[in-house]
């Protein structure tokens, strides 16, 4: 009797195990089948409901820095997943949350701005992130420096670049080359007079020969640009009066369109092209 009961119990257990295995196989197969069905997503729907860091910090029960770490780690994974097409839609919002939770956490500012510029092609978001970094960390020169770099190299917004480099220069510890970047931004902005004065100042207070040489080359370039503009202007007026371009710079001087025949900073003559009416330096400013 006991033997029969034991055998029955064993067979029921075996049946149960078989049932479990079948159920497990079924739900695994169904999971794979469900995963294959692609569900439509709202743009940015995966992150759109993350609240502002201002409110989120109250929900972290004092673990604000850990929450910032977790969201930052997640953000790195999220933004390096190219299959999420709309991942950049709320980039500034996400990094704002991290910055709000841990304002002294430096990496998210730099990495966030880098993602904004290089991946999202959204310089506005980069400026927003870097401005927040500068506001939360006024002792860090790197944020206005990076913003200036983005304005100079990516956006080609030279007045904005000048503003950021100027802001950067005021922060103790900022490298001396920032002043040169600012002078370059002023030159590219087209303010040749201020550019000349800035480079001259850099030249005068240059701490070493290398910096002096760099400043000298830029001064050479600024002067050549000013002279070329003056020649352009004179040649245009000459053409207007005589109906043909001047044959050389002497002609422009003799006819009174130029007060003197310009020479470069090294005292050499400029090369004049009668066909275009333009001048250029004999040597490249950067190979003097």
């Amino acid at each position: 009797m006991a033997k029969t009961s034991s055998a029955k119990k064993s067979s029921t257990t075996l049946l149960l195990v078989v049932f479990l295995m079948a159920a497990a196989a079924a739900f695994m197969a169904l999971k794979a089948a469900t995963d294959r069905v692609s569900r439509e997503k709202l743009p940015g729907s995966s992150i759109i409901y993350i609240p502002s860091g201002k409110f989120l910090k109250y929900a972290t029960f004092g673990y604000r820095a850990v929450a910032a770490d977790a969201i930052y780690l997640w953000a790195i994974q999220y933004y390096s997943t190219p299959t999420i097409d709309d991942r950049f839609d709320h980039l500034d919002h996400i990094f704002a949350i991290i910055n709000e939770l841990d304002p002294r956490y430096q990496d998210p500012y730099e990495v966030g701005a880098l993602i904004a510029v290089q991946e999202a092609r959204n310089p506005a978001a980069a400026f927003s992130i870097l401005d927040r970094g500068a506001a939360n960390n006024p002792d860090q020169w790197v944020y206005p420096f990076n913003a200036g770099h983005v304005a100079l190299m990516t956006l080609k917004d030279y007045p904005l670049a000048e503003k950021y480099f100027e802001q950067c220069m005021k922060i103790p510890g900022a490298p001396e080359f920032v002043e040169r970047l600012r002078a370059n931004a002023i030159f590219k902005k087209g303010d040749l007079r201020t550019s000349w004065e800035t480079w001259l100042e850099i030249y005068k207070k240059a701490p070493d020969e290398r910096t002096k040489k760099i400043a000298s080359n830029h001064l050479y370039n600024v002067k050549a640009t000013i002279d070329a503009a003056a020649v352009d202007d004179a040649a245009a007026k000459y053409r207007e009066r005589f109906g043909r371009p001047p044959s050389d710079l002497e002609t422009l001087f003799r006819t009174g369109f130029l007060r003197e025949v310009p020479k470069d900073m090294d005292g050499q003559d400029y090369l004049y092209d009668p066909a275009t009416g333009k001048v250029k330096t004999v040597t490249s400013p950067w190979r003097r």
Binding site: T12, T13, L16, V17, F19, L20, A23, A24, A26, F27, M28, L30, K31, A32, A33, T34, D35, V37, S38, R39, E40, K41, L42, S45, Q77, S80, T81, T83
Partner: protein, 254 residues
């Protein structure tokens, strides 16, 4: 028949549980409170009402399933009524299934009432009955059924506090396991990837029952997913119940 009788008794027992009404009260408060939250928004108020309402049904439903489900089997053992029950011609599997169905019935009634309040509030704002919301509620209920099975599984061998923690962990894992897919895409082939793939396949994916975003935003839901999600829920629940029966059969009460 025996299963039905136990389910009936479980339903009556659950009806007397004060915690059920407390949770229902808070659920109703949450659904009604959505109206107040909606006032604070700029733009689509109905969206807030739908979001918070569906979240309340889901959250409080899960709490009901866990807090009542984890005590069901343990109470019988603690009060020693299990001896009376098992001395009758009753299989342990019938006992477990009866308990499960009784709680599922309770949750069905509760979900029904919560949904009625929810639909009434939505109706007050939109002046139309939105049938698609019932799709989301239906799959929330399916999720509750699975969580109930999990609560009963843990209740069959552990104390209510531990069982609640385990069941809650199951719920959290179920809603976070999709993250493993992201990790899988970044992992180099090897033993680690195989392990993560195994975990991804075996761990519950409760996001399969989450149609709340689609329903609230009126996004199209691929027809194929209804059936596969439903069957996934049924098979996973059957697996958990089978496991519960297996564990419960091996327990010695003497």
């Amino acid at each position: 028949m025996k299963i039905g009788a136990i389910a009936g008794i479980t339903f009556k027992e659950a009806k007397r549980d004060r915690i059920l009404y407390l949770l229902f009260f808070f659920a109703a408060l949450g659904i009604g409170g959505a109206r107040v939250l909606a006032i604070l928004t700029v733009g689509d108020r109905v969206k807030i009402i739908k979001d918070v309402g569906l979240a309340s049904i889901s959250l409080f439903g899960v709490l009901m399933a866990i807090l009542i489900g984890t005590g069901l089997v343990y109470k019988e053992i603690d009060k020693k009524t299990i001896f009376t029950l098992l001395s009758k011609p009753l299989h342990r599997a019938e006992f477990i299934l009866g308990k499960f169905l009784g709680l599922v019935l309770t949750l069905f009634v509760m979900t029904l009432f919560m949904s009625l309040i929810f639909l009434a509030i939505v109706f007050a704002h939109t002046l139309k009955i939105e049938g698609t919301l019932l799709v989301a509620v239906g799959y929330i209920f399916l999720e509750l059924v699975l969580v109930t099975a999990v609560a009963i599984l843990f209740s069959s061998f552990s104390t209510p506090i531990l069982s609640s923690l385990f069941a809650l962990a199951f719920y959290l894992i179920g809603h976070l396991s999709w993250g493993l897919e992201l990790i899988l895409k970044k992992m180099a082939p090897g033993a680690g990837k195989t392990l993560v793939r195994f975990l991804y396949t075996v761990l519950p994916d409760l996001e399969n029952f989450n149609f709340r975003t689609e329903v609230v935003h009126g996004l199209p839901i691929p027809p194929g997913i209804y059936l596969s999600s439903f069957l996934y829920g049924v098979c996973y629940t059957a697996f958990i119940l089978g496991l519960a029966v297996l564990v419960f059969r091996r327990r010695d009460f003497i």
